[in-house]
Amino acid sequence: MTTIEKAITPDIDDSHYQSKTLVCDGNEAAAWGVALARPDVMAIYPITPQSSLVEYLSQFVAEGIIDAELMNVEGEHSVMSALQGAALAGARTYTATCGPGLAFMFEPYIRTPGLRLPMVASLVTRDTLTPQCVWGGHQDAMLVKEAGWIQMYCETVQEVLDTTTMAFRIGEHPDVMLPVNVNSDGNYLSYGATGIQLPAAPLVDAFMGEKNVNWHAALDPERPMAIDPLTGGAGGPGPSMFANYRKSQCDGMQNALRVIEETHKDWGDRIGRYYSPLVEEYRLDDADYALVTIGSMTGAAKDAVDLARDQGEAVGIIKIKTFRPFPVEAINRALSKVKAIGVVDRSVNFGWNCGPVYQETLAAAQRLQRFLPSASFIGGLAGSDITVEHFSQVIEDTAQLLKGHHYDEPIWINRND
């Protein structure tokens, strides 16, 4: 058994330790982000548009760039199950999935947060069936927003890399101990290539610090314990125990807001790239109204806002990066600056006939105790594009709110394309 010897002298390409410019797409960027975090165990199963991500991971393992156990298992369900096992044995773990794969993974997926297992899973977002489709959209990620995973949406390929690495530290923070989804838009980010900076590995090693996976729950003969005994019921200690576990999980989620901010700050200080960790405000301070965006659509929205500003429109952008936990305070700080909002979703909320980001934003705004005129826009489903021209129309429609216009229904962006 050579595992130990191999581990002490890792056979890793020196170039991996240097900062360099790469031209790559979001899936390769995610794989580099994983490489920098030095996972122990990765389990994978391919699914469009995530497939090239796990191909990159496999290639990195083949080339020795990543020294991790790679498990090519027979489906997403086993992906998440194997990772839970590995994490309970102390491993730093990673996978990526989306759409139907995420749906198939769901049963073990919803267990990871309750076990308080830090773990990172990229969601290369994909619209859900049916209609049958293989293209991007946020519906898959939105369907699991109540599963207890932290969710961060990336805007750029560079942000995919940086956020993927940061996600490990966020999840492993002792006050958090939760799994993290790093969401990148299928097609546009997954396959969109651009020039990015790969940070130097030693800087990232210093940033990552000690691995912190399973001090609370271990399947280790040196520390025998039962993990996940039946808990609950209506009598005895059950009800209070169950409630306390649940509350602690919610507390971890709330702690994550602080930890996400601290982690982004530290990343910026060490690596040199700063991001708005929760909510980004763009040209908002003197804005009358704002668009609320999420994910890669934001770039086109910024271009459209600049054009509108040139026309004298006082419009800005509130971009949500962290969607779970929902950054209520940060959102409300931004919302308090404007008189109306147009929220653009890349998915739908079936129950409320609007976008889920719209619904969440309004729920937060309710705490402002003032009426906020608003409109829900739905676009970019199943790989469709939300262009600068689309956003110019969104801006125009949102501006109508200031004139007293009211929208009873969501506005469908690509419906007449």
Binding site: Y191, T194, T298, K302
Partner: protein, 192 residues
């Protein structure tokens, strides 16, 4: 900002070509985004890739609907789809073909045309009609938007086996030198 659309057929390496071009442009200090049009990328089916480049940061992550130039790395793809769709007046077309300028139907407001018999070059070098790197050379020659040197560097970091790299470097060079450029009318729109 310059917007380029590449047309080809599945299996010909149109998407790889867009990545090589992106690497070359980044090498020259440009900001670039390259997005493949997505559909069913089966061997033989018409495929497209979009590239934007600029001296300033590019924020939009969108497909391209009104390109400044069009590069068709396959001669027959013009029969399958309208490669000129949305092409800006005064735009550029770089095309892989044995035909002459006169034999082709050109859009009225086309400004620059580059023609390269890429298949013949490919058959000599690869013994197979692989034209993507040849046509990148043709694009560089026609537009001057990227240098041959940078393209070669972009090629070197792409994932080719050793022999493939040398062949492709030669192919790119020949594509560059064996492209005929026609300036049909003065530029109506200045492309960056």
């Amino acid at each position: 900002m310059h917007e380029l659309r590449i047309h080809g057929r599945g299996g010909q390496g149109a998407v790889l070509a867009s990545k090589i071009l992106a690497k070359a442009l980044v090498e020259e200090g440009k900001f670039v985004t390259a997005i493949p049009a997505f559909g069913f990328e089966r061997r033989g089916a018409p495929v497209a890739a979009f590239i934007r480049f600029d001296d300033q940061e590019i924020r939009r992550v969108n497909n391209i609907y009104a390109p400044n130039s069009v590069l068709s790395i396959d001669s027959s793809v013009i029969r399958a789809i309208n490669v000129f769709e949305g092409l800006q007046p005064g735009g550029t077309w770089v095309h892989s073909t044995k035909e002459t300028k006169e034999q082709l139907t050109l859009p009225e407001d086309l400004s620059t045309l580059g023609l390269c018999d890429a298949v013949s070059i490919a058959m000599e070098i690869f013994r197979r009609p692989i034209t993507n790197t040849i046509m990148l050379g043709a694009f560089a020659k026609t537009t001057g938007a990227v240098s041959l040197e940078s393209l070669k560097k972009g090629l070197e970091t792409a994932n080719f086996r050793d022999a493939g790299l040398q062949q492709n470097l030669l192919a790119m060079e020949r594509g560059y030198h064996e492209t005929q450029v026609f300036h049909i009318q003065p530029h109506l729109v200045e492309a960056i």
